[in-house]
Symmetry: C4
Subunit: 288 residues, 4 copies
């Protein structure tokens, strides 16, 4: 029993280091992890550059394996230290962690799978946990709130953009024809999105007078349309800013920002209050 207890304690400590950023060890772990993620992405990028790959192939290859093995150890440690491993394995980060570890092993069998390695970029999202200091959270929360509040409006807007692109794209296909680069309707629609969003690659461009006239209308339209999402997000931002300011004036405390980065070792739940002793989701003792 005492062995079991020690074992459990050892797991709990590792859990705290891996999953939380409150203790110095936990913070260090997260920073080291981050450095390895950035390094592994840099490795993949450099490997794709022929001149670099030719000269440093061995170095890049061994580096890749070092990162893969470290990620494997980390993955296994994560699975072991959680009480309900399946919950982690099928969580968003669990899947990403797995997918960013596996490609080097598969590359023994299939050559192309190696490219999956770049999924590691998604792991960078973990950075927000380390930066979990009040102001950063505040910033991204307000951002998230504004985007959520204007979600429906943005959907309506995107729908309008897509419909316009389909209609104008088809018209341009009929007007310009295949000899001017508008070889088929999907390509025309693609060109129309390029134009509406004011990207304008120029790989395809209207040649006929009528086509150029219609393009002028599309561009001015696109120029006007860009005002809409901007207006929406601005208004939501102004509203949320005003609200926060008013509450301050009226002496109301702004909702306390919780800096707690603990995650329950039993059910993997996060977002506990700073003073929480028990998991808000399963009642498990957090300080165990």
């Amino acid at each position: 029993m005492s062995t079991n207890n020690t074992n459990s304690n050892w797991k709990d400590k590792l859990h705290e280091i891996i999953y939380e950023a409150d203790t110095p060890a936990g913070k260090l772990f997260d920073i080291v992890l981050l450095i390895f993620i950035v390094a592994s992405i840099a490795l993949v990028m450099l490997e794709s550059v022929h001149t670099i790959d030719k000269n440093y192939h061995k170095f890049l290859y061994y580096g890749e394996w070092v990162v893969t093995i470290l990620f494997s150890i980390e993955y296994i440690a994560r699975v072991i230290t959680v009480r309900k491993p399946w919950k982690y394995i099928f969580s968003f980060y669990g899947i990403i962690d797995f997918l960013s570890t596996i490609p080097m092993y598969i590359s023994f069998v299939f050559a192309g799978s190696h490219a999956l390695v770049t999924l590691r970029a998604l792991r960078l999202l973990r950075v927000f946990r380390i930066l979990k200091i009040a102001r950063y959270l505040g910033a991204s929360n307000q951002l998230k709130d504004s985007i959520i509040a204007s979600r429906v409006k943005i959907a309506v807007f995107l729908f309008a953009v897509v419909i316009s692109s389909v209609i104008f794209g088809t018209i341009m296909y009929l007007v310009e024809g295949e000899e001017n680069g508008f070889t088929n309707i999907p390509k025309s629609v693609y060109w129309c999105i390029v134009t509406l969003t004011t990207v304008g690659f120029g790989d395809i461009a209207p040649q006929t007078a009528l086509g150029q006239f219609i393009t002028s209308i599309i561009m001015i339209l696109g120029y006007g349309i860009i005002a809409v999402p901007t207006g929406i997000v601005s208004a939501e931002y102004v509203r949320s800013t005003n609200k926060a300011d008013k509450e301050k004036e009226q002496g109301k405390q702004p909702e306390e920002i919780q800096l707690n980065t603990q995650s329950c070792s039993n059910c993997h739940a996060m977002d506990h209050k700073d003073k929480a002793k028990y998991c808000h989701s399963c009642g498990h003792n957090l300080h165990l």
Copy 2:
């Protein structure tokens, strides 16, 4: 007389299914219609891609005919079930429905008319009726209100953009000349709109030092001009948002959003109140 009544009942039921989205049958009809519209657009798009058309020509051709026949049946049903068919036939959707049905028939006579099929994309606008749930309507209404409120300002703005383009386009034609791609003034004006809206295809680009200097001025101007419509829409949005918030604070009920999707079988009017029993436009009994 009883036959007539039964006949009328049968028509009214069909009317309810086709024109409204309140009953399960009506909702199903709208969703099926939508799927067929999207499918028919996809067919036209795929047909324009040579490699696909070569391999699946027969499939695409028959698919096209299936859609056309279904649309024809739908069109006839719409005409029959409305009490005043001419009102529907010459309404916005009536004309679109007709134009999106007819091309395949005409294509027996004229080859090119087939392309009109893509007008079907406009039928997609019907989607908003199915999505007629409170929040979507709210979103697009506020959008519509903001755009209507800033209509005049946007017209003034567009007028300024067009005048600037004509003046700068002519100057660039004089400066760059025909040897640098500015072959005539309309083309120069087109290029100027491309530049002012920051699209910048690059199919035509200034080559002389003076031309590049003037282009720099045009671009910075265009960069500044984009702030204007954005500022207008933002301000209108902020205002309408503030207004709604204030009314809420003062306990005023926001104008109830009406979810009624019925359309009068007599005069084709829509936008009835949720509790409406009689058509607000002609007094016809809606529940008949």
Copy 3:
């Protein structure tokens, strides 16, 4: 003396027709003038298109002369009917009117001067006088106020854009060099403005890895910078909108918009109050 009086009356009536848009005759004159301005611009544009000019050269040439002669008559009439002709001749519109009339006459002597004809586009600005109905004025006044209020801020912003372009342009010239299209520093600065404003023609594009890295920084910077003028104009707009709304709430009358389009026949001053009997600038009787 009676002859003199009749003569004066005749002049005053012509003055009213030419310079004002209050009477039906004055409105008609302005609309006809506008049509001729648009027509004359269209003529110049079409003339620059070779295929059109070849087929319709005579028609375009005679049309040009008709417009020129009509503009000449209008210019002379304007000079005669104003009491202080020099004031008109050296006013903004006086100079434009002169410059848009003269080129065809000069083209007998110098071939190239013909192109000046396009200055007529500036005469289109007169359109605002006809559209001088309350809401249009309101719209463009608020626009003007917002731009004036944010004038200094926009100047600071433009200054920052130009400085950044000079610095980054020079860096790119050093990094990319002449073999990659950055043939000299002014061209590099031009390219930098093209990139910062997100126009991106693509006639010049970085080829080296370092150049592409610096370009990435320039682009993200430019993407961020665009937020500044938009934010400025938005804020000014919101402020002016709020102000107007508050004044309405407090029962204050908004400053009455004056629809008077009369201009004093003595001193050419405009912007008289609707009920004005005498010129606010020289005291001359407006209804004489």
Copy 4:
């Protein structure tokens, strides 16, 4: 002692002329300096244009030397007249002044160093001191405050842009491959930033159908993302504008804008109050 005093007075007067813009002599000095900075930048730019350099090489070369010698004199005068020269030498402007003076001397030894001359552009930032009139300061302060207030949000936003570019860039590398211009991942990421920021050079453009589809998503995303920084800056601007307006209404004096351009001759500190007699940083007499 009297000699020493005279000497000191002479230095103090020169200090006032060089470092401050309050006296007519000081203002004149700053304007002359500005003209020389602009002239020296123009010289460097023109020199890089081959056709101009060939014809006016001697003129440009001597002009360069005149500017360099004047800048050297100015630099020495600045060092002499400050009581604590090291503070100036290692200040931001001190380093720029040095770096913009030295290149011509070094160019005797190393040929390429000549290009450093363009660092002079940074000296243009001095212009703000001359323009130090209330409204200009107000404008740039509000700008600075808005940017500082939204600093964290903008960092979060930029982080999101970079992550998206890395992920989408890698995907495009896999989809399009090297034969379509996406020769390696860093270049793909560069292309992705070009597209996300709506610059769109078009030197690289997707060729496959799948690549064009993904590009469409990237562009619409980029079109939406641009709304975010604009919204942030707008909201901050609206807030700071509202605050200033409220304070005015409540009769509060806005923080007085200090026009004092003096800099302490002892410790080089600036930003003294208008009525300040002694340096706020070291207590040295400012009017000495």
